[in-house]
Symmetry: C2
Subunit: 448 residues, 2 copies
């Protein structure tokens, strides 16, 4: 009999694994259980649907359920929730609306994703209060905005989702208030990025409330305001984007171990403490390329890459899922902000390094060429070894340059080696010394 590969969860990690396994071994039975109706969708595109730049929610779907079934020959079952894993018997229990049944597996992938954190706020169930983590929520927000045309919007949380939704709702005509408990927005991007982004958000008319805790929402059926410690501010719509938590309960109930971050612990092949059970995507940990320690950075590329590798591994070609550098990029109105590796000295010291850092500003193009813009680049390195630890880039033009730093981290380069990288120059694209090289040059000089 052919082996059976069962996948729990039909988004990036799950569908990448299923597709790759089927492509490598067409004889294998590949069954995917997805409790919802949407599969393989680009959650990161949802703010642009709300903003109005993407016409149809279906545009965010990379591959349709029909295509998975018919073209890729994957047994994809939507509306089917796995409620139990029996590792001893190698079966999962599946509930649909109509029935409950068991399915046996030879290899199992847990790709159950993450959920938006719902803080213990009053009034979280008022109409007009949303989190945004799945397609139905994006749909509901768009409907609400179209129907009610909100004058004032409250965004709770200054992470990337909060900032993207600030841009989206501002484009839809709302006055946007953004509430962040911490001293800065985009905490994982570090202060140099946060300061540039904050100035820009204010320029764009966003009312920024830093170090401001929200305690709840008020309203009669529908949200009318945001409760702060000693004030209530009007709001016709509220988006809560305070982070996500891995969906690891199902796995944990079956004795599959979580790691220090709370996500499912995995080895370099994405295997859990059970050799027939893998985990990937937003529910799983990865290994950080700089620290070598487990980390939880729930982002799309990691999920796709790990899923694909696991699909290869289960069909007999052991493939590491790859380390992560925590690389991220976000658009904030006209700005691009990006980070990779370790971006602040305190975090670097915690990881056992003796960090030095530098922040420089430079034009994204030749000084005399039109359309250049100031880029602010931060780089960190370890004093003793000279090893590059991470960095950030922010500006109106060229934030994707973070990839140079991310590649250097993957290659374990020193900052002096990075300084000598032969990057591309022509006036329409860069100054002679690319801003990344300028930062590396200055930092390398400081290490001497």
């Amino acid at each position: 009999m052919n082996e059976t590969f069962v996948v729990i969860g039909g988004d990036a990690a799950g569908m990448s694994a299923a597709s790759k396994a089927k492509r490598e071994d067409p004889e294998r039975a590949v069954i995917v259980f997805e409790k919802g109706e949407w599969v393989s969708y680009a959650a990161c595109g949802m703010p642009y649907y709300v903003k109005g730049e993407v016409d149809d929610l279906d545009d965010l779907v990379t591959v349709t359920p029909e295509a998975f079934r018919e073209e890729r020959d994957i047994d994809l079952r939507t509306g089917a929730e796995v409620v139990d894993i029996d590792r001893e018997g190698q079966t999962v229990t599946v509930e649909t609306g109509d029935e409950t049944y068991e399915q046996s597996y030879d290899d199992l992938l847990v790709a159950t994703g993450a959920s938006a954190i719902e803080p213990p706020f009053d009034g979280l169930d008022l109409e007009g209060v949303f989190t945004i983590h799945d397609m139905d929520e994006a749909d509901a927000i768009e409907d609400y905005v179209t129907e009610r045309d909100p004058t004032t919007a409250a965004i709770v949380g200054g992470g990337y989702v909060g900032i993207e939704m600030a841009e989206a709702l501002s484009a839809r005509g709302a006055d946007v208030h953004l509430y962040e408990m911490l001293p800065h927005v985009l905490q994982p991007f570090g202060e140099p990025v946060a300061e540039v982004v904050e100035d820009h958000l204010r320029e764009q008319g966003v009312d920024l409330h830093l170090e401001t805790a929200v305690s709840g929402f008020v309203g009669d059926e529908r949200v009318e305001g945001v409760e702060l410690e000693d004030d209530t501010v009007d709001a016709d719509i509220a988006i809560v984007g305070v982070g996500v938590a891995p969906n690891a309960d199902l796995a944990e109930a079956a004795g599959i171990e979580r790691g220090p971050t709370g996500a499912v612990a995995t080895d370099e092949y994405g295997r859990t403490n059970d050799e027939n059970v893998y985990a990937a995507g937003d529910c799983a940990e990865s290994t950080h390329v700089v620290t070598g320690e487990p980390d939880h950075v729930p982002l799309a590329l990691t999920a796709n890459r790990a899923g694909r590798a696991i699909g290869q591994t289960v069909t007999g070609d052991p493939t590491p899922v790859g380390d992560i550098a925590g690389t991220a990029i976000v658009k904030a109105f006209e700005l691009g902000a990006a980070r990779t590796g370790i971006v602040d000295e305190e975090r670097a010291r915690e990881a056992g390094f003796d960090p030095a850092s530098v922040t420089i500003s430079a034009s994204s193009r030749a000084h005399y060429y039109p359309d250049g813009a100031e880029l602010t680049v931060t780089l960190l390195a370890d004093r003793e070894s000279g090893r590059l630890l991470g960095g950030s880039v922010v500006g109106r033009d060229g934030a994707k340059r973070i990839d140079t730093v991310a590649t250097a981290l993957t290659a374990d380069m020193t900052v002096t080696e990075l300084q000598n990288a032969d990057l591309a120059y022509a006036p329409p694209f860069s100054p002679v010394w690319d801003p990344i090289l300028t930062a590396a040059k200055v930092l390398s000089g400081n290490l001497e």
Copy 2:
């Protein structure tokens, strides 16, 4: 007595070396001889001056002669040509319009640049026929275009200068004919890039004459046409951009050795066969990071970097000039085209590799996000070791991604390692799999 560092040539390499040496050791006498009047200028910006995007030729000057003299305390002598090097006596002979004198040195840097190649064409001295390699030529072209408003322009040579000048003269209203002897434009960028660029040039109205040899120009005082083998085509202005040759005669006359490329041979510190004589910039060879062999790629970053390193070395801190990957990027109307390392299989085989290559096309941004454009990416790797050898990128958006490949070459990465680099994704900036990663993924699969 303080040591004296003499520099021949006041552009990128020379002025970088002089500035760095003076900054590291303010007591040192630093003397720069420049035969012309312009120093430290961005030759790469000249096409944009002709095009009209840069208002003033002075905007292309990075640091003025006055600033070098007054702020950086460098003894910069313009209009002063070094006509002889006496290595035994450690002196150079200098001619100005008025006098001839000798100057002694402890360390000498030859940074004499390169010159535009003048092919043996008839009519090369007709009015309206130009090469474009220095500021005076750029000035003369701009004047001629303004004065004569040419209807038809002939560009001889489809390298980056030819293509940039095609864009510039087209913007000035001329019908542009571009003549290239070889089967493709942008030969060092490889065929996949050339084909995309050629289609685009035609779309932009450029009349492309490939595999077409020009034998000369005709006209009465002023150029009126281009002579081909069996035809004459109208031209009111002609730009000859068929490459540059290193200015190594002065050095050679003093017994300083040329390398296999014809440029001055140097070691990893930029030193020539005379331990007190260095060479850098367009007149000198560099070491190619992939082949480990000497190469001659006269580009601005290489000149700046080598000059700076030599400035450091001569003041007592030996600093390698850094290897080159031959990274280059060029704007062709709306396109960006970029290359690094070895981009074609034949060249890779010559260098002793067993190459595999792949060319893919992918969107520069998420498929549903506005303003994305198709990027064509080529990567080469060695079959046996998996080592990345080079690549190219061409498209309307995101050609600067070549830096990821260039960084990977500097780090000696395999294509599988590059495939696992944690590059930045968000819909406005990239698909989940950056096109570079997609190419690496496909190529890595082909190597198995």
